[in-house]
Symmetry: C2
Subunit: 555 residues, 2 copies
Amino acid sequence: MLRYLIIFVAVTNFFATGMYVVNPGPQYPPTKGEVWPKPQYEKKEDKYFTHNSSFIITPTNYTCDILNKAIERYAFTVRALHNMARRSRKNKPHRHRQVRGAPTTEKYEEVHRTHALQKMEIVLTSPCEELPHLNMDESYSLTIDRISILRSESVWGALRGLETWSQLFYLTDNYTQLRINKTHIMDYPRYKHRGLLLDTSRHYISVSNILKTLNAMAMNKLNVFHWHIVDDQSFPYQSEKFPNLSALGAYHSSMIYTHEDIQKIIAYATERGIRVLPEFDVPGHTRSWGVAYPDILTKCYDKKNVIGLGPMNPINNATYTMLGQLFEEIQEWFPDKYLHVGGDEVELNCWKSNPELQDYMAKHNVSAYQLHAIFMQNVIPLLQNKSLPIVWQEVFDEGVPLSSDTIIQVWKNQWVNTMVKILEAGHRLIFSASWYLDHIKSGGDWTDFYIADPRLMVYNATGNDSLLDNIIGGEACMWGEVVDDANVINRVWPRSSAVAERLWSASLAASYRARKDALTDARHRLEEHTCRMNRRGIAAQPPNGPSACVTHIHQ
Amino acid sequence: MLRYLIIFVAVTNFFATGMYVVNPGPQYPPTKGEVWPKPQYEKKEDKYFTHNSSFIITPTNYTCDILNKAIERYAFTVRALHNMARRSRKNKPHRHRQVRGAPTTEKYEEVHRTHALQKMEIVLTSPCEELPHLNMDESYSLTIDRISILRSESVWGALRGLETWSQLFYLTDNYTQLRINKTHIMDYPRYKHRGLLLDTSRHYISVSNILKTLNAMAMNKLNVFHWHIVDDQSFPYQSEKFPNLSALGAYHSSMIYTHEDIQKIIAYATERGIRVLPEFDVPGHTRSWGVAYPDILTKCYDKKNVIGLGPMNPINNATYTMLGQLFEEIQEWFPDKYLHVGGDEVELNCWKSNPELQDYMAKHNVSAYQLHAIFMQNVIPLLQNKSLPIVWQEVFDEGVPLSSDTIIQVWKNQWVNTMVKILEAGHRLIFSASWYLDHIKSGGDWTDFYIADPRLMVYNATGNDSLLDNIIGGEACMWGEVVDDANVINRVWPRSSAVAERLWSASLAASYRARKDALTDARHRLEEHTCRMNRRGIAAQPPNGPSACVTHIHQ
């Protein structure tokens, strides 16, 4: 009997005697069938359904390739769980033991058992769109019953609803039965730009790991893959017009993205309702361009000696000619309406050191700061209104005049002040300052990401909610200095899941107590979600502490 | 021409203008054919040999299974590089480009080219031992020439020499040729206990990842796999005598180590000259034992209420009877002379709260501290001199009388004082305090591990070198709270490589300048070593910053 005592004593309990009782078993037992990110409205009943292999999903009204493929994918995902249960049932009884500490489902056993699920109808009320976009409609409603209904206005909402549907399934404690509760969900995202930045220049990331990342993004309802594709260190983008950029500027011929690779990545993302936002960061962070094209960069001087190449040369027409032609190619290859042109961390000291630029600045009475403004003013028209620009906050900070449709990405210190200024100037912004995945901490840090909410920050600072709508979202940023194929997946997941829920779900309550409860709730749900990612082939790392995720049932 | 300028400007150069010139290409270009950990004595000439498929390795004097298998393994490893070169030669010329910034080998091209290697003789001067042990001889000498000679007194030295031999090979800049330079090496370890602790209780680690870890240990010349196999959270060791320990105490039936698994792991380790040191931590960290056997644990009280189970019950004979029988089984299954019996972090407050123990302490006039001493004094004789004990430092700190052959593992704060006390008491010790792999830092931290040297610490504190020999080594510790199969390999490697070199190679020089140079040197070598691990299937993460490791040549 005593052993039940230990099991049910809460882990975090401190006693009068100062003892810290450690529970044998997982520290935060995972939930069963809870959805990540948390839906806006969810009502779940005790009554549950089982799953058998005659279950079908049928689209009604409209359908399309994207929807049909998604149905196939999610049916497969649920069948994999179904097969785990089947294998467990065939096993010897002594192998059925549940992971200790997990919340028990057995009490439902007799009372709430109902029928097997029969089918799910997907009611799409508009024809499918072909490409995800900033203003796509991702809302959906989902009713789980013997005949379930997933209803959405757009195919993107249907994708989000299918993901939710797949997450509502859970295995019983001994893994012998797959269940889903009678549930009603109405759901929609709080922010419309929910991104993950991946830097593929400091280290090359293989196409297969990018596809894996897109899969995980779909599991977390993230909808923008911000591809920071080139930077100082290497130029893996293989241009058709300027093949030497990668032939000389990539790390190695095995470390490039061909047009074919890019098409594959965009198609894969599109099928999952994810936009691919390419970033070609100018005029800084461009040294790898200079391996093939040194003339478009600025020679940096130490007194009279050239000591290297710095940012792009802002007074060389060749720079703009090449950028214009390259942008044209990029716009052809990447279908998204937005193109990120960077603009961060420009090495103004290099410009200041260059005699030619010194002359120019003297003659036109402009500072190096203003040179940056001039550069960006020359670059943005090169998009020829075929793309809208996204830029890092420096471009705004340094007073570059920007059209009102430019989106500004906030990443630096004193981000609240910066956000207020950007919003007051009438711009839209996306937020990243609290979500740098390259900053790590012993024992884990996703809760820091989780509690950061840009709209709340601005509201708390200004008491004004009229500006908040222009905070259209944010991005978790995986800079690549110490991340490559060996660790990128487990460095990004499940830490980005925290950002994903913050951007999709309702905001955290204001009271300290309510936030604490919400965090504890999230800890348990994130355990389930991490295990779910593991089961679907994403090597997400443990979010909290001791835990056990059963990914395979052996016979 | 300009692009050569950038390439050769040092990365870390700060200029008068305050510019930070970023090199396109890797931040610390990898070395070519440098050995990790660094050999004690190495003389390398410019003259080099190529490798072709007629090359053979022949043991002379003595040989055995362990040696023959190692020869096969290492011949295979080098053949894999050979095949990369072969594939590169078959590729179109424009695909041969080297990773920029890598030190060039082309200058040797004409001058130093010699013949292909013909063979290597392994001269073993004693018969093979069957099991690695604390005092095994790991020294070897290696002469690379057309006919190379690897000479060692013991098979363990031959294993270390073969690893070194495989690391001396390098691919030319464009990957088209595999080379090895004329070299003479005399090598031996500075510390004899060079371990890695893996905790398989907080999270289960699969057998295949343990085998991978052993492979990586051999690549780093680590020789003790400290298997912290059970703890509070789960009991994955499947005992024959007490099957319920894992049947009830493991997380799940898929998360156990069977006798067969253990045999496989020990055999794999033995073939690589690695000892498997099992730890069964008592009397604390044992709550998972209590799921099946609550009576051997102490009931912890809050006033009059039992609130859980704490450390083992030190006044229950059943505890010792069971431990004696279990130790017998462990001694039969694990051939190492040492058995780690833990002894850390005993929850004395639980003992103090228990009325029965309160009576006992009053009657015998002993404190809870002394109860710990009594417990350990009762436990150590259970080893029946068939194993020698290793214990965590608390057992020494708390005044438990220990025989002089007990080894003490130092892990807590103020480690220098603790080491001095242990050494003055005539004990041997192993050091871990600076090498906790669960402590992580943004941007990487292996250099912190690298500069920590227990003998230097004690010498600097005491000015006395007569005590130093009893510091017999140390261990990097991978506690499992936030590490599972998803991230264990890249969390451990190459960070443990830093510890491995500290324990094998000569000590760092005292002068600040020399240490700084040694660190820079190590950065470049660790880049090569990390890439080498990647090529051999170990997902080691980037150690320094931007880099590029070519692992496959596609055709």
